[in-house]
């Protein structure tokens, strides 16, 4: 018998596909992984572990999207809260509470950032005290 090469042809025949079991399972799962961003080449010809990595990556993506939606909801909630003073009936407030000056912190502050923040707060209070002193002293001049 003439020796033959190992690789056979992989022409796509629908009738043949329907009669094979594992190939049918592979085809059934293909759209799921394509939707995750996996290419058809990676799915069919890549390492078997790649599908596991794609599933884990998809899980992380969903978690991140969930957190982003939650933060977005938090900003909406705070914006509505800021407007409550002027929305209440018989309220004397003429303006809403100012919106957040900076984004909500999503990372823990470093030691240096904490020190810088405390310094700024101290300097703000000090400058207000000096201003008050000037105003107060000017009354007696």
């Amino acid at each position: 018998m003439e020796s033959e090469l190992v690789s056979g042809s992989l022409s796509y025949n629908k009738e043949v596909v329907n009669t094979t079991s594992l190939e049918k399972i592979f085809n059934q799962h293909l759209p799921y992984y394509l939707a995750m961003g996996m290419s058809a080449d990676e799915y069919w010809n890549g390492s078997n572990d790649l599908v596991i990595a794609y599933r884990k990556a998809d899980k992380e993506k969903r978690k991140r999207k969930n957190v982003e939606s939650w933060v977005n909801g938090m900003y909406t909630y705070l914006a509505i809260l800021d407007n409550v003073p002027i929305l209440r009936p018989f309220s004397k407030a003429k303006e809403p509470t100012p919106y957040l000056k900076e984004p909500l912190p999503i990372y823990k502050e470093t030691k240096e950032e904490k020190i810088e923040k405390a310094k700024n707060k101290y300097n703000n209070v000090l400058s207000k005290m000096f201003k008050f002193k000037e105003i107060h002293n000017s009354k007696y001049e």
Partner: protein, 109 residues
């Protein structure tokens, strides 16, 4: 890490592995892992040959037969190849099945 089998034969390194394309090709060529118990003499050489498709598709069957004859511990070899073959579909299963909290079961055979 993907399951593969490495060895050296006549100065050349070989890697045996299965992917979905090679498994589909083997099925089209008539291979059925379920028949390994009823038709071992037909099934086992095909399983071994199929493992070359992914990384050594141009190798000839005669060379594969020669390599197979030289391999030691054939029982373990075939068991590992079967595991690698089944891994192509096993990896499609959700890993949450392996998480803690699930009932641990065992068979008595």
């Amino acid at each position: 890490m993907a399951k593969c089998l490495n060895f050296n034969f006549e100065g050349k390194d070989y890697t045996l592995e299965f992917n979905k394309t090679t498994v589909a090709t083997m099925e089209r060529q008539g291979f059925n892992l379920q028949e390994v118990d009823t038709k071992p003499m037909l099934t086992l050489p095909k399983l071994f040959q199929g493992a070359f498709m992914m990384h050594h598709s141009s190798i000839r069957n005669e060379k594969i037969d020669k390599i197979y004859d030289s391999m030691g511990n054939k029982t373990e070899l075939i068991s590992k190849l079967a595991e690698m073959y089944q891994d192509t579909v096993a990896t499609l299963m959700d890993e949450s099945e392996n998480e803690e909290g699930n009932i641990q079961w065992k068979v008595n055979w």
